[in-house]
Amino acid sequence: MAALQETVTQVASLDASAYKYGFTTDIESEKAPKGLSEDIVRFISAKKNEPQWLTQWRLAAYQRWLTMAEPKWARVHYPKIDYQDLYYYSAPKSTPGPKTIDEVDPELLRTYEKLGIPLREQEILAGVQTRKVAVDAVFDSVSVATTFKEELAKAGVIFCPISEAVHTHPELVQKYLGSVVPVTDNYFATLNSAVFSDGSFVYIPKGVRCPMELSTYFRINEQNTGQFERTLIIADSDSYVSYLEGCTAPKRDENQLHAAVVELVALDNAQIKYSTVQNWYPGDSDGRGGIYNFVTKRGDCRGDNSHISWTQVETGSAITWKYPSCILRGNNSQGEFYSIAVSNGHQQVDSGTKMIHLGKNTKSRIVSKGISAGKSQNTYRGLVSAHRKAVGSRNFTQCDSLLIGHSCGAHTIPYIEAKNNHLQFEHEATTSKISDEQLFYAMQRGLSAEDATALIVNGFVREVLQQLPMEFAVEAQKLISISLEGSVG
């Protein structure tokens, strides 16, 4: 018993000190006045010099948002958010727009260095960093740097801040923006549509296999500032792209709101792999502070034989409300969702996926691994549905929960809707605890209580970690250990 008790105590002792990205960057910023109104929406749009259609689009979203109510169905509890007490736009003063890396404020470069995000191409090329990854770095409301743009351009790949794409590729943005997550989709997505600040835009042309991993790194710095980024990825016919998103935030006593929208479009035979390592500040050991993460992520397998896979490792945030989904519209299209959600302390996670089978012979696969420790609550919520025309569709769902200690909770809420008789849906779910026997066995062989716990947890999530690009899998593995042990890595 006491071996387990020790682990529980360690977990309980986890506080803000374990979060290693909790530092603040002291940099002057330009903000819009607090609160949300039509004027603020116009202000943001004007700041970005947006065309008329986009300003109107935002305003329509804002009007719609005023008529909507915050969703209450998730298994999360938090005090009422005062939307008038937030800043909706904040930009580092010295960088009015993305520039070449040499012009970026050195303070910002140092911030990303501390975070281990390579922004200096020459260092990457010189082998300081082993893997070539193109990075778009978003700091509060704006993109501060994007690397390898030229090399990508040679392959025809467009990778730039969405605020830039609005000007350089307006036809693509106008055609696809809001086509997967409509303006009216849900409270947080609609809010995002009205006030979104920046994010990444990716277009992979027909027949192109993107020559490197793409990655966006989000950082919230400012106090009382909401982050509303918007990502749009389009994989044209016969193309392939692998994309990774990472996020961190400073330690702050108050909660910060993050309401992002990610839209993926895969045309005929295209494949998009989207991986997330989410490490927003989770709050301290008493549950003070931390990010409220209300995110809408959806992929549209618009073309036949298209393929979208979501892989997420969720360790941060005070509240996670997130359901990366796939609309399997094209015939023979495939959707996948691989998830590891770790919750500790007072964290609340309500996450899962939706697989909407519309086309014939569509396939989906869901593997969700929830790990709850401390006083956290971890819910898997998933929908698998098949339209009348989705004959021959198949789904396999596996939801496993692992509990560490006695004060946490794990919940699995699957919804299944089948509107035709020619399909096959399977659902498996397990809930287990790390047993005293397992811990003692591993410790008898020489592993400390912490190492034993980490080893057992890693065994539990192995299937999902295998889906991540290798370097990130190693990172994710470390991150999971840190999240659970309270030891600074």
Binding site: E437, Y441, A442, R445, G446, F460
Partner: protein, 250 residues
């Protein structure tokens, strides 16, 4: 090598070990025999450091180090190995991964360098051949879906790789057919060395036909009641433990 003095152990209100004394010399194979429920498994767990037992008196010395002051993983690093009666399954962790993690954890605790991969592979290959463990089994998650015999062979493989000073075998013969019993026994016999000691905990004489003990200790009522040579085991086989139990009651 191993010296246990006046060991008193209880679980909750129940006293299980009541002043146990035992000495095992380097190079010696000592068998502990006794009826069920007499505290044999408790003894093995207490030596290895399992939580949940309160040690009210006594000491356990391994080469002069009092094990009771150490957490389980440091006892392991100091050379204590327990072959479990019921080896535990660890899903998703391949045997190879577990073996390497254990070897390196012990090395780190002792301040030694980690083992390099070619050397590790070589050792695993050599030892697993002796125990008829194939590569397919080594790639599977530890003990998951293993038969009783496979689990016990995996225990002996770990013993061979970790090279402990004191190996405790807790009812290793339970659940083994005769072929598996032979393989496991041969594995143990090949590890006998002048600087290692073995503590064989068993209910039956059967295992001792294959692993010849130097000394036999009869345990009952939480104490060692009688010690002797290999012949004591045969005597027990004939007469049972009745004498020792009534002895205590009287």
């Amino acid at each position: 090598m191993l010296e246990i003095n006046d060991l008193h152990v209880s679980v909750g209100d129940r006293q299980i070990l009541k002043g146990l004394n035992l000495k095992v010399a380097a190079g010696e194979v000592a068998a502990i025999m006794g009826p069920n429920g007499t505290g044999k498994s408790t003894l093995s767990y207490v030596i290895a450091g399992r939580e949940g037992y309160s040690i009210t008196r006594g000491e356990i010395l391994l080469n002069g180090v009092n094990l009771l002051n150490l957490p389980p993983h440091l006892r392991a690093a100091n050379g204590v190995f327990l072959a479990f009666q019921y080896p535990v399954e660890i899903p998703g962790v391949a045997c190879m991964q577990f073996l390497k993690a254990a070897m390196n954890a012990q090395r780190r605790s002792r301040g030694e360098d980690e083992i390099n991969t070619p050397e590790f592979m070589k050792q695993v290959r050599e030892e697993s051949e002796k125990l008829k463990i194939n590569n397919e089994m080594l790639r599977r998650p530890l003990n998951s879906g293993f038969s009783g015999g496979e689990k016990k062979r995996m225990e002996i493989l770990q013993m061979a790789l970790l090279q402990p000073k004191l190996s405790i075998l807790d009812e290793t013969d339970s659940g083994l057919d005769i072929d598996a019993l032979k393989t496991v026994s041969e594995g143990v016999n090949s590890l006998r060395r002048p600087d290692r000691a073995f503590l064989i905990i068993t209910h039956y004489q059967r295992l001792l036909d294959y692993i010849k003990p130097d000394t036999v200790h009869v345990m009952a009522q939480g104490r060692i009641q009688k010690s002797g040579g290999a012949e004591l085991a045969l005597e027990l086989e004939k007469h049972g433990y009745q004498d020792y139990i009534s002895n205590e009651a009287a």
